[in-house]
Symmetry: C2
DNA sequence: TGTACATCAGTGAACGCGCGTTCACTGATGTAC
DNA sequence: TGTACATCAGTGAACGCGCGTTCACTGATGTAC
């Protein structure tokens, strides 16, 4: 295999175009927002013709679904890694995980919207997307189960508790992103403080 | 003023075009989703030329903002009316209001997304939008204050409690709309059951 | 090691489309006298 | 009550644009012999 020399400009075969498209799409989403996320813009950013993506995705929605899927994977990883920080204190773990979720949302608001805003019109068509979402949820449920074992979390079906926790933290993330937090709360306190405060109520 | 006779087709002046546009926009949003919501499609549905909306809105985003604003007004009304049903039982009120919120979301998913999904890129430009949002929030805070007075709701800043409650119910609404509720919970229980279950955890 | 060939990844021109917005206009309304 | 006129609401043609997708193609890769 020829290794392209430094001065050789853009070889005909990209080599890793699929990933490059996902990466560029995520960047575009983060920098410009959902309205800027067109197939052509992504291809442009990667430096490839606008027909090239069709070698890797059947259509635009499939690419969007893959970006959303990556979001769930990132989220699941964040939950897992955050849990590892205070492995002996389930209450602290839970609060940290909530804050990690909100941080993800604040860092990638447009990606979160892509994951949760019906932009992908036929999610059933993307089983990997659904599986990634469920995997992230399962991380959270496992955390609550551990908390119950340590008698730090109230009794009840851990998956139902996980749903409530997820809803709380997701709603909070959305409100923060959309700047819908009423000013007297929003101005006086940091997102982290607000998140932990809400977590204490559960 | 001439009252147009029944057979007179579409008088030159519509008479109430602004409201007709909002109504048609909402219908389009509900029936077809956000992707179908173009100025031209709205004008088409009202039966008016596609330039006519510019007499009432400076641009597309202003129309979207007005539709979102109506969403907040609807929401605030729903909260107010629901509270009135069980005026002596703040706990029941709160649960009912949460369920009313989720019902609104399930009935108008696309409108909820419009209100909370960054589609309107310069919300600062629409003070009425922000005021409508805050008014809805204030309804909720008032409810919690009343609950505290009746000693049914825990102590604490009622507006912070309201924020948590809002986040919970909003997150739940989003998860339900996007069908992100894990199947073992989602399939076994109705949205209403899930909402009330989550409310009990607060 | 060399060659023929199938396979695959990327190109660039072209398609048709619907969109937001502008503009000069026309028809209706209401007000001043 | 009647008339002139300013104001307003809606028209329809036109603009330029970027988009998703298709297509015949070309350049590169890897495999069989």
């Amino acid at each position: 295999m020829d290794i392209p020399s430094a001065d050789a400009p853009t070889p005909y075969h990209h080599g890793d175009l699929r990933n490059a498209l996902l990466q560029a799409g995520l960047e575009l989403l983060t920098e410009e927002g959902a309205h800027a996320l067109s197939l052509r813009a992504i291809a442009r950013r990667v430096g490839v013709s606008h027909a090239a993506p069709y070698r890797h995705f059947p259509d635009k929605e499939a690419l969007l679904a893959a970006i959303a899927e990556q979001g769930f994977l990132t989220l699941a990883t964040a939950v897992r890694e955050t849990s590892a920080h205070a492995p002996t204190d389930p209450a602290a773990q839970l609060a940290d995980v909530g804050w990690a979720y909100v941080q993800f949302a604040l860092q990638h608001p447009a990606q979160l919207r892509l994951m949760f805003s019906g932009v992908i019109r036929t999610p059933q068509a993307y089983p990997n997307l659904r599986m990634a979402g469920e995997a992230a949820f399962e991380q959270l449920a496992a955390l609550l189960r551990a908390g119950q074992r340590a008698q730090v979390i109230r009794e009840g079906d851990p998956r139902q508790l996980a749903l409530a926790a997820w809803a709380l933290v997701h709603g909070l993330a959305v409100l923060l992103i959309e700047q819908q937090i009423p000013p007297d709360i929003g101005a006086g306190f940091s997102p982290e403080w607000i998140t932990r405060m809400c977590g204490d109520l559960l």
